[in-house]
Every structure is written in C-alpha cells, then in structure tokens.
Symmetry: C2
Subunit: 232 residues, 2 copies
Amino acid sequence: MRTLRPTLRAVRHRAGGKRGPSQILSEAQRLQLGSIAVELRVRPRTILYREETSAEWAFVVREGALKAFRDLPSGKRCVTAFLFSDDICGLAENGLYVNSLQAITNAVVHRIRFDALEELLRRDAALEFEFLCKLAHELRESQRQTIAVMRRTAAERLAWFLRMLEQRQSAEQGHIHLPMRRADIASYLGLTPEAVTRGCAELQRNGLITFSGIHQANVANRTAFDRLASGA
Amino acid sequence: MRTLRPTLRAVRHRAGGKRGPSQILSEAQRLQLGSIAVELRVRPRTILYREETSAEWAFVVREGALKAFRDLPSGKRCVTAFLFSDDICGLAENGLYVNSLQAITNAVVHRIRFDALEELLRRDAALEFEFLCKLAHELRESQRQTIAVMRRTAAERLAWFLRMLEQRQSAEQGHIHLPMRRADIASYLGLTPEAVTRGCAELQRNGLITFSGIHQANVANRTAFDRLASGA
DNA sequence: CGCTAGATTGATAAAGGTCAATCATTGTGG
DNA sequence: CCACAATGATTGACCTTTATCAATCTAGCG
C-alpha cells in the first residue's frame, strides 16, 4: 500500500512568512494523517457524500476540482464552495453532513474517518492547531464569499470569482481555468446562469477578460480587472 | 480580582445530546481560559478593534450585542456578523484583524491575548478541540448567511434574520429584540436601509410579524413566518 | 424646545430574474 | 460515419425587485 501524505493549505493568522496561502503541515504530520487516510480516485459527477446523511469521513483534496452544495427547501441548489488541492471538506452538524460533495473533474481525494481523525487530533495538539488554522482560513473565505454575493452587478461578482480561481491555480498568471459549468458559477454567486453568461460577455466587451472556449478565461487588462474584482 | 469564566456555545458536529447549540466548555476549561482573560465593560459604539490593525487579542462575549464589520474599497460598510453571549471574535490573517468590532449595546467581553491563548491551546488538546468545534460552528453560520443573502426578496432575508435572532435570544419564543439599527441589518443582509424598512412593513402587512417599536418584533403567525424564514 | 441621527415614504431607474427559443457540444446507436 | 438525442450555453423580450435619490417624519437628547 502506497504511503499517503495529505496536505493542507491556508493563510496563517500570525504575521511573518509568506502573506499568501502556504502548506501548513510538517512532513511528520502529513505521514501521520496519511496513516489514517485512504486514497480515492473519482470521476466527474461522482457524489462523495450527501447532505443530511451520517457523516463518517472527512476528505482532503489531492487533485482535481469538486463542489460542495446544498439543496434548499425552495428546490434551488446552492453551491457553498468549490474545492481544489489541499482543501478539506466534510463539515458536519449533529452527526450529519451539512452539504453534499460532488466531483467536477477527475479527482483524487484522501478519505479519513472522523473518529480516527478526532482521536488523532486529541492526542496531537500541534496537528490539531493546524486544523484550527485551516478552519479559520475557511471561515475567512466564507465571509469573503458572502461579501462578494452582496455586490450589485454580475460583472463585479464574476471578476471577484475569476480572481479567486486564478489565485488558487498555480498556473501562469492571467490564465484561468473554469472546470465548472455556468450554472455552478451562478449558484455560487447568487445569480442565474443567464446572468453569468451576460456578465462574461460584459467583461469581454469591456476588454478586461477574453475567453478561449467555455472553460478558459484570460486576463486582458490586469489593472481594470483587479480594480473591479476588489470592488473599488 | 474576580474569577472569570468565559463560555462558548456551539452546535456539536457529532450526533447525540441536544440538537441545538449548547455550552461546550467544562468548568475546568472555563477557569483555565478565565485565568488568561481580562473583563472589559464597554458602552455602545465602542470600537474593540479595527480591521487591518495588529491582532493582539481574541474576545469572548459575555453580555450584550456587538457587530463585526468590514469597510470595502467602494466605501460601503459591510456587517459580517452580529455577536452575542458566548460568541468568539478576533479573526486574524497575517497578524492583522480581518474586520472591525464595535459594541451595539452596553457589553461585557473577555479579552484574551492571542499568544497566551495559542500557548494554552497547544498545551491542552481537549480545550483546543472545543475551539475547533466553535470555529466549525461559525463556519456553518457564515455559510448560512451567504445562502440567506442569495435569497431574492427582502422579506425572505428579513424573516431568516429575525428567526436567527430569535434562536439566539433565550427570551420567550415569539419576542425578538433588535438592538441594531436598520442600516446594520441592511448591510448584514445585502440590502439598503430603505429595503429593510419596506421588508418589515411587508412582514407586518402580511400578518407574519408585528412591531412594537423599532427594536421589538413579535411573531404573529408562526407557521407562515417559519415557512418564509426557511425559504420554502 | 429645537437639533440631529435615524427611520420612513415616494418616485424613478437600473439590474437581474424569468420564460421561451435557439445554438453548440457531446455522446450514442444505427 | 452520420443522424439524433440530450445537456448546457446563449440570446431576446418582458417583468419583478431593489437601488437610488430626495423629501419628510420621528424619537432621543442636550
């Protein structure tokens, strides 16, 4: 059996070091986590878990893109997060998952039993502290999503979203890959798919972004793009 | 010097016990936290800390209501959270607070140095685990705020907001106290103060809520109110 | 008793939602 | 290899809702 080494990435709450996100686990911690993890390879559309079902596992993403979503009483489906490498998911409440997790692309994840994880964390305060940091990071990101959704225009929300994707992707600056469908972007930003389409068209019309196909965006005017994304 | 006993409240991620939020610290843990805490009494409008300033302290609310907000580049002010008893705040990134904290009413808070807190948590994995639970709780709440802000109508968002307030207040069911101004509610829900006023008027017109003064709402039709608040 | 911050009300316009039709892409089976 | 089905993206017309702006009202307070 291969040795697994899950990794977590977050911006630290303390000053010093890099300002951006960085790997927060030591090699020893990764091996320790790996020892209670199982690797899964999943195809697009695979559901890893469903909301309101018994929460047995946490997941650490190693490769690929996934979405966490919730089905609202109104029947609408709301995407609460997109997940990429070094992200964690499996948030639970009263023993039940609070959202569903579905693969968007081919993905590799590490699956970890909650009881084993809890036991490990309670034994190892240093490792636990890193999880605390990762959760704090997630909380800040969630607040930023809230703020983004409050923005007036679709173009502003889209610019913010595209920049978030760009920052998460280690690819060359200016090239942004969008693995998800328009409808997913829409329900992440509190828009309709039509509004996403029109917003993308507007960004292109104004020369901030060019699209090469549905799943590829390129920053054309960095200054204007950043200004719009920041909400200035 | 008085003995301080900060408390934290959260919904547990594991099944069993109460389904709603409960006190998550043991008596011993409260005393331990209290030993590194200082009690502050503040008047309305007092700023506890400002965003982008050096983050030295975390705060645990003991009494009163506060708001956490962020000033956006656009000049708008966005309320990211309202805080009540047993809530924690002071989220930092790169050593800087990510938002500002201001008292709405007279309030009592416990102030805890971050370095002392971190040291304590790294020594006591069990206490640290409770903080992990509290952060997970905050993350779920933040996701729910995002979803609420995505709702179409102002009345829906308001109903959700009022029910959240009701659930946090231990007062008799059906009586909801709103300590904050209309503008604060608006910027928490992604609306304008005018829309809040009109939304409140609509809730009253439709018989879901009655208002006795600006700061007091009463549930008049529980069924319809809950249905709207849930977004059905 | 007026002052002031906040709340309310009204008129208008901007923006996205909604609905329906069309286009594009992918995958399937003959 | 092509016809066809199915899903998703796009476009257009229209409508709902809130943002915006301005004026007015109200309550608390010196």
